[in-house]
């Protein structure tokens, strides 16, 4: 973990609702691992006291990219970032996904909306290929499907309105696949998305006796484990305890997470 002033080297829309911000970060980028995140100070948001956490979408040499959607005043202000603007970054933060999957298992990535971003970074680092299940509200919320296909991954899509792929939750597509394939190629899950989706993936993993690595999202304060804002109830060596999502996560194995909401 370090603090570094990055420079904007790219800031482009991805479809109508999303943007990719690329920063030159020679200190942070080369040591970043899939599943880790960066904490950005949005200088354009003058009265903000908190940084904003973003999972890492891709790393290319000294360049690090995040994929974001405008969901609040922080991301709204970020839209004004221009080429060559400086951005203060703390990172890489948290623990990443494991990137090795035992031979007998198929990596099964499950994404909700732009939760697909860190899974793309993961897929690029994995030596084996697998399948991505990605769900979203409508077709424009399904991102990077072709990029995964270009890496040799199978992609299955689900949308709430049926405008792309199967209609319904991503678990509809996932369950159909599991029924046909889980016996001969047991899955190891890697998931990023809303809590309901994470819990659903975790439940399937526990039932099937497979592993599921879940990327949790909680409102964070400091990002480094100091403030204890983003705690999650977990089971550690059989004991219930509070883990800091920013420092002890954000990746947790499904069996360790105790869902309360």
């Amino acid at each position: 973990m370090r603090i570094e002033i990055g420079t904007v080297v790219g800031h482009d829309p991805m479809g109508p609702d999303y943007r990719v911000l690329t920063l030159k970060l020679p200190g942070v980028a080369p040591v970043a691992k899939p599943g880790q995140f960066v904490h950005l100070r949005i200088a354009q948001l003058h009265d903000a006291v908190l940084r904003r956490p973003f999972s890492i979408y891709r790393v290319d040499g000294n360049h690090l990219s995040i994929l974001y959607k405008t969901v609040g005043r922080g991301t709204a202000a970020m839209q004004n970032l221009r080429l060559n603007d400086p951005v203060s970054v703390v990172g890489p933060l948290g623990n990443g996904f494991p990137t090795d999957v035992a031979n007998a298992f198929t990596p099964v990535l499950v994404a909700g909306g732009y939760g697909v971003a860190p899974l793309y970074f993961l897929a690029r680092q994995m030596t084996c290929r697998g399948i991505l299940f990605v769900g979203g509200a409508k077709a424009v919320d399904i991102l990077l499907a072709d990029d995964f296909r270009a890496l040799g991954w199978e992609v299955q899509v689900a949308t709430d309105d049926g405008s792309l792929g199967v209609k319904g939750l991503v678990t509809v597509a996932l369950d159909a696949w599991l029924q046909l394939n889980a016996k001969q190629s047991p899955p190891e899950f890697f998931a990023c998305g809303p809590n309901g989706m994470l819990k659903a993936v975790g439940d399937r993993a526990i039932r099937g006796n497979w592993k599921a690595w879940l990327s949790l999202d909680r409102h964070m304060g400091c990002g480094v484990g100091a403030c204890l804002a983003c705690v999650q109830k977990v089971r550690l060596n059989g004991q219930e305890t509070l883990a800091r999502v920013c420092k002890d996560g954000p990746i947790f194995e499904a069996r360790d997470v105790i869902w309360e909401d």
């Binding site: 973990m1 100070r41 903000a48 006291v49 908190l50 940084r51 409102h219 400091c222 403030c227 204890l228």
Partner: protein
């Protein structure tokens, strides 16, 4: 010649008067990769109670205009957990360690204080009688003169370490609280804690924090804190540690002119972890520019 920044605050020797505030810097290791702890005046660790404590439900924090509201609820590993897990780490550094303590009862405060007596590397105790986020303890003590007096006296009776009550801002006469702390044995005072505050989601009409309300900190509270420090400085002679909304040397200097001997950076650690270090260098530059040889010339230097 560079102005001297070192101070002796109620027997606590610090290389500069800039500390990091309880609850905003963890127990030290969390920020050690980003901030050279040896450069800080002191680290005030997150509040410790007799036994481990789980704190409040989430959400525990929300950003608002010019600050944040938190209701962490004093989650901590307890005296034993803290001492075993974090003191060996902190002892590696040449920095004053001030342990913030709290209890659910007066006896618990005193017992926690006693347990820290003689723990190597602990330089002082800050008594949290002003946390707005716990039902028992915290500001239920610090907003009542009589219970403030009792808690401070009870802690005083059980420790030889310098004790620093941390005052609540939401009282009608801060001077009276400052005085009652000093009369009962306080060596210095910290002021102020966060302000009771609340934020509501207007779509759901529910409070944003699980605890319903919390404590407001950050730049929004700074001018209010300056006034409270100014009032407390008129009431007592002991050294004051001022905190509330410091983001740069400017706010720290304001506090010192108003009456503080030292300052603590809190919420700004989250925004910019290097804030305390920037305050130290900015303070040095300011003294230089104003031809002061020592930071002590700045303390209580207000011209009315």
């Amino acid at each position: 010649m560079k102005p001297t920044l070192d101070i002796n605050l109620a027997g606590i020797r610090m290389k500069n008067p800039v500390m990091v505030a309880s609850g905003t810097f963890g127990y030290g290791p969390e920020y050690a990769d980003l901030v050279d702890l040896n450069k800080l005046g002191a680290i005030v660790v997150k509040g410790i109670s007799l036994e481990p404590w789980g704190g409040n439900r989430t959400p525990r924090m929300v950003e608002v205009s010019g600050g944040l509201i938190n209701a962490i609820g004093l989650q901590n590993p307890g005296v034993k957990g803290f001492t075993e897990k974090y003191m060996p780490f902190l002892r590696q550094y040449d920095v004053a360690v001030i342990v913030n303590i709290w209890g659910k009862t007066q006896d618990e405060y005193a017992e926690v204080a006693a347990r820290f007596d003689g723990v190597e590397g602990v330089h002082a105790l800050e008594i949290n009688i002003s946390c707005p986020n716990v039902k028992a303890g915290g500001s239920s003590f610090g907003t009542n003169l009589e219970s403030t007096a009792k808690v401070v006296a009870a802690v005083r009776a059980r420790t030889k370490l310098p004790i620093i009550p941390k005052l609540a801002p939401n009282v009608s006469d801060i001077g009276a609280f400052a005085k009652v702390c000093v009369d009962n044995g306080a060596d210095a005072l910290s002021l102020i804690n966060s302000f009771p505050a609340m934020a509501i989601d207007i779509e759901t009409r529910r409070p944003i924090l699980a605890n319903v309300s919390g404590g407001l900190s950050g730049p929004a509270i700074h001018p209010i804190a300056v006034k409270l420090v100014y009032e407390a400085a008129k009431a007592v002679k002991v050294p004051l540690i001022a905190l509330g909304g410091i983001t740069s040397a400017k706010e720290a200097i304001e506090f010192m002119i108003a009456g503080a001997s030292a300052v603590a950076v809190g919420t700004a650690n989250f925004t910019e972890p290097l804030t305390a270090l920037n305050v130290i260098s900015g303070l040095s530059d300011y003294l230089d520019r104003h031809n002061m040889n020592s930071v002590q010339e700045l303390v209580r230097s207000i011209r009315i």
